[in-house]
Symmetry: C2
């Protein structure tokens, strides 16, 4: 019943996020309710898993009917804490950093990129294609405090990743998403997630039938 968030696996949370997207799709189609079975069929998921994932947080469905789409969507939004906008900063204004800063998905649905940082004088003071300011990295603490930044994104060279991570945490950022190809040591009481593009490609390579 009570939404205790302990013991919830990362896999379950990732799927919540997937369910949210599926529900938004169905809502756009004008649907009112949906069963776990139908969700599973339509989006290539497992119905038992959907029910179990949701049941960790409460009883959101109606037996014999399924789930009310609008209601379940709102519940998941609350669970993921997407109902209050979170300020995001991106460190590293290379191609990837700029692409991420302008990325629709990072500027909607509970997130907003408030600044991009770099140390390259050729970039500092400029703006991205969609108008996000590129500031000098020494201003990370100032901006993080000013906008109460919750999430930092690392898109710098691997050598600098650990230092930037430390800087972000010291500036009060609580969660970090890194794209740098480096092994960062996660500090307690904060959350670190790593997306490694090259590793994804290499893993794919392994599984190719040659």
């Amino acid at each position: 019943m009570s939404a205790k968030t302990a013991n919830i696996s990362e896999a379950t949370v990732t799927r919540l996020s997937i369910y949210l997207r599926c529900l938004q799709t169905l809502e756009k189609e004008g649907r009112q309710t949906v069963s776990s079975q139908e969700l599973a069929r339509q989006f290539h998921l497992n119905s038992a898993q959907i029910r179990k994932d949701l049941a960790y947080f409460g009883a959101f469905g109606t037996r014999g009917v399924g789930y009310c789409i609008a209601n379940l969507k709102d519940q998941i939004i609350k669970l993921l804490k997407l109902n209050k906008e979170k300020a995001v900063v991106i460190v590293g204004a290379g191609h990837l950093g700029q692409a991420l800063a302008d990325f629709q998905g990072f500027n909607s649905g509970g997130f907003r990129v408030v600044a991009l940082f770099d140390i390259d004088p050729a970039k500092v003071g400029k703006k991205t294609a969609k108008g996000k300011s590129i500031l000098h990295a020494k201003r990370i603490p100032e901006i993080a405090k000013k906008h109460n930044v919750a999430i930092g994104i690392i898109a710098v060279r691997p050598q600098s990743a650990q230092a930037i991570y430390d800087t972000l945490l010291k500036a009060g950022v609580k969660g970090v998403l890194t794209f740098a190809p480096a092994q960062i040591k996660e500090k307690p009481l904060t959350k670190l997630r790593a997306v490694d593009l090259k590793i994804n490609l290499e893993t794919l390579s392994f599984f190719l039938r040659s």
Copy 2:
């Protein structure tokens, strides 16, 4: 002993890729050998897991000593099939697609981006910052055959993702990495990996101490 690639989990392969990167770092530092314990300490891994992962593929170490860095590195490169260059195409020449096309990690160590595709006439015929050609998406089959493309990357809007996936497979591509926020149905005998940027951010949001 023999390198049977069946029953190997995705998690193990992902870690192989991590080990490879760690070994390359150590090699640059001029190191000759390394033990699983030292690897674990230095890169925040688990030594038993390193040994078990490697043992799936053979006995690469020397008891009492550890692993010869140069040798182990070469072994992992072979396991991941990175010893022969693979041609990669990217579909979708938005900010992300262009950033990926120019990304160093996708143009080294066994991979090379040979073309970017889009259907926007304003983009077709142009080049990325680093000189990758943007071609019309209708040329996917032609280019895929010509360069014997092994891997396709999807960086298009979610509505088009499934269609592009089908197109890529029909063109003979064996593995696909998608960045589109959509649930694609994986076809048998091929490999699909999804990197979902927004889901990563939402998952991070869940775990933030508020």
